[in-house]
Amino acid sequence: MADQDIKIVSFLCNWCSYGAADLAGVSRMEYPADIRVIRIPCSGRMSPKFILSAFREGADAVWVSG
């Protein structure tokens, strides 16, 4: 199971988690490469449609982070 290819569609707020992801990258931290990041201008941009849409297109999980 461990080497299985999974996709986690991640909706990250530009100002919060996206910044954190950027910082993590700049700091050369290591983390699993399973996430596919979608930058949203604010968590308020999030809509339940996006989550359903992600699953429909084959996401294994969805992560929304502000």
């Binding site: 339940p48 449609k49 359903l52 849409s53 429909r56």
Partner: protein, 315 residues
């Protein structure tokens, strides 16, 4: 119920006579027995068309939007809750409405009754708690309580919550220890069983959208199912599309659904669409202590922020 129609007609006549309202929205006999359809009455000679019986299960709050003048509406308990929701959501102003409240003893499930007959039902009348139903082969006297719609069985707001005048005396409300036994049953299943349950539930869906058209909550100018760029959901009978439609429709009703049962009544395939919305009703009650459409001054839970909101799902 038979007596209140006279009162309704009397009130409607008076309102139209004095020109207090432009029209009266109520129920008229449909083209077949066991079905009533909504009607807007503007002139006095049409008053006789108004009826009210145990088949008036549709929700008249659905016909109140985008109205200019003052209108009167005949409203059951659940209808008034949807009227409150409309007022809270700025779809209509309170002073535009004259609400004729009708305390309701529940509506009957036409599918359950039709299942008793092999041929078409040609006549329906009711007398108190007895339903007289006739087809060309047989005639039956049924007890109304046995044929109530599922949502009416668990209804705890039979009396109108907001009204200008009542058409009959208030009825006794029932109190239930657990208003959500159906939700509990599904919650007890494991993931795959639940999935299967909803797959089976929607397998007959023909995507006619009768549920969303009958629902007073569904008033977006363009529904997400009709949006084409991006297209959120396909048009066909694809299982995923059917499920996506039902999920999102249900989610849009979160914290707003009054469990009026219009969606189930409108469904031509006898799908219990309420299975989707009931869970959200239960959640909003348990998490926010909220039941939709009870108070004209309160904002719905998904529309308001409070520091006490449950947030344990956030890491």
């Amino acid at each position: 119920m038979n007596t209140c129609i006279n009162k309704i007609r009397e009130l409607a006549l008076e309102l139209l006579d004095k020109k207090e309202v432009e029209k009266v929205i109520g129920f008229a006999n449909g083209t077949i027995p066991l079905a009533t359809s909504p009607i807007a009455i503007t002139s006095k000679q049409d008053i006789e068309k108004l009826v009210f019986n145990s088949t008036c299960g549709l929700n008249l709050a659905n016909y109140l939007r985008d109205q200019k003048g003052k209108i009167a509406v005949i409203a059951k308990g659940c209808d008034t809750r949807n009227i409150v929701t409309h007022i809270v959501e700025n779809q209509i102003k309170r002073d535009q409405l004259f609400i004729i409240g009708v305390p309701c003893n529940g509506m009957i499930d036409q599918f359950k009754i039709a299942a008793l007959f092999n041929d078409e039902i040609i006549e329906f009348s009711e007398d108190g708690d007895t339903l007289n139903i006739k087809s060309s082969l047989k005639e039956e006297k049924l007890y109304k309580k046995d044929y109530l719609r599922e949502n009416c069985k668990v209804c705890m707001h039979k009396n109108p919550v907001i009204y200008d005048v009542l058409a009959m005396d208030l009825v006794e409300e029932q109190t239930l220890d657990n208003p959500y036994p159906d939700v509990d049953k599904i919650e007890a299943m494991d993931s795959d069983k639940k999935w299967q349950h909803f797959q089976d539930l929607t397998k007959n869906c023909i995507r006619c959208y009768a549920c969303k058209n009958a629902c007073p909550l569904c008033y977006c100018p363009t529904c997400f199912v009709d949006e084409s760029s991006p297209q959120w959901v396909g048009k066909g009978q694809n299982k995923t599309d059917v499920n996506t439609f039902h999920y999102l429709r249900a989610f849009h009703c979160a914290g707003r659904c009054t469990d009026c049962g219009a969606c189930v009544q409108a469904c031509p395939m006898d799908i219990n669409v309420r299975d989707f919305t009931r869970k959200l009703n239960k959640d909003s009650f348990e998490m926010f202590g909220w039941e939709a459409g009870l108070d004209i001054t309160k904002r719905p839970p998904l529309d308001a922020y409070s520091p006490d909101d449950p947030d344990d799902f956030i890491k």
